[in-house]
Symmetry: C2
Subunit: 240 residues, 2 copies
């Protein structure tokens, strides 16, 4: 068992770990499709939009494209998914508006309380691929009590690039072993561990819906394994 008292900061993956992106995106997509009288399944549309996420970031991680913030990638991906559904006549302002759905996602039921408890003992910040304004809007709407907003836009690198983790730790002025990455994704934690950070796996078995097959269990012996953020707070000795 890792020595919790040595950890000084917790960095959080956000999409899937802290907020339920699939339900939130589907909610706003459904309203959009309804306004346009389109009979497309909103959850399927949300999944299609999300499937473009990794390849779009890979263009930047590989160096083929200079860094742009996630809002830009999300919008390009949205135009692509709309087009693949034969929807090409939506006014740009309406595309902009639908793109803001990522700023307005709801937290999982335990997230706000769990983060508030963890904040009393640790520095807490997102280390998300989401850009600063996206994280700010989400936090303000949902009441996520971050101490600071860190992540891809601050360090100009997308996870799982090593510099996304190491440059964030450097900003915090801590040793890597004093920082714990918290995520519902084994790949994110593997990259963080590869950089020397501590790791906490949160099980989010319905991030991708009821038929989810990935990230249902820890694929390595992570330092902490928790059912939700309240459970993590308890394991790390944070009062209720």
């Amino acid at each position: 068992m890792t020595d919790a008292p040595k950890i000084k900061a917790l960095l959080f993956d956000v999409f899937g770990t802290v907020v339920d992106w699939r339900s939130g995106v589907a909610r706003d997509v459904k309203a959009f499709l309804s306004r346009h009288a389109l009979s497309i399944d909103a959850l399927e549309f949300a999944d299609a939009w999300r499937r473009e996420y990794v390849p779009a970031m890979e263009e930047i991680r590989s160096g083929r494209r200079p860094f742009v913030r996630l809002d830009v990638l999300h919008r390009e991906n949205l135009v692509k998914v709309l087009s693949s559904h034969g929807i090409t006549s939506v006014p740009p302002e309406e595309v902009d508006e639908l793109n803001l759905t990522w700023h307005q996602l709801d937290p999982w039921p335990d997230s706000v309380e769990g983060l508030a408890r963890l904040k009393r003992r640790f520095m807490i910040a997102p280390l998300s691929n989401g850009n600063i304004r996206l994280m700010l809007d989400m936090a303000k709407r949902a009441g996520l009590p971050w101490d600071a907003i860190l992540g891809a836009e601050v360090v100009r690198a997308y996870k799982p690039s090593p510099s996304a983790y190491t440059d964030t730790v450097d900003i915090l002025g801590l040793d890597r072993a004093e920082v714990c990455m918290v995520a519902a994704h084994n790949g994110d934690l593997a990259a963080a561990r590869g950089c020397g950070l501590k790791t906490a796996f949160i099980v989010r078995p319905t991030e991708h819906g009821p038929a989810q097959t990935s990230d249902l269990r820890a694929e390595q012996a992570w330092d902490f394994l928790a059912t939700d953020l309240n459970d993590l707070a308890t394991q790390l000795g944070c009062a209720n």
Copy 2:
């Protein structure tokens, strides 16, 4: 009178505007000097340390030196001021510790309440030359309720370089006229106005002690002129 409803974000100078750096630094310097049985005036020492601030940043603003965070400049300046007082035998860890005084400054009496009120209606963030960890420690200790920590380290530019303002507005995804710079320093506001931001002057007549001669009044017709952050909140229509 500027139209307050058009403003969406407030960016704050911090040292002098939100926190009382002189008293805070002198408090920790006094304890340090006392431990070393040195009869040096702590307020004079704080002033001497602060006088090194602008020239140290100017090396970076001018391009003569690559960007380093303010913690680094503060420490170099501390060693210089210690040395000018004939103090050269302090262990490095003790210099590090005294340097952290800038992370532990107390807010002016109105700051926490004023910011909490402003936060209900606007995005609020520091646009300080202080680095992220410094601002984070200060906020956590004092209860400053920032929505995000922006500033020099995020945009890798020190105020009053124009890019410190314009790149921060770009991160927020706003028009420049939708952002208001809040500061107790006419020079900071002049630079912000030069970039197209709105401006709010807060009078802090004892930032430099009772004999202060600078920034006692507005030197331009700033968009807002307030006696403190609570007054600004009232002027901007924020409930008590």
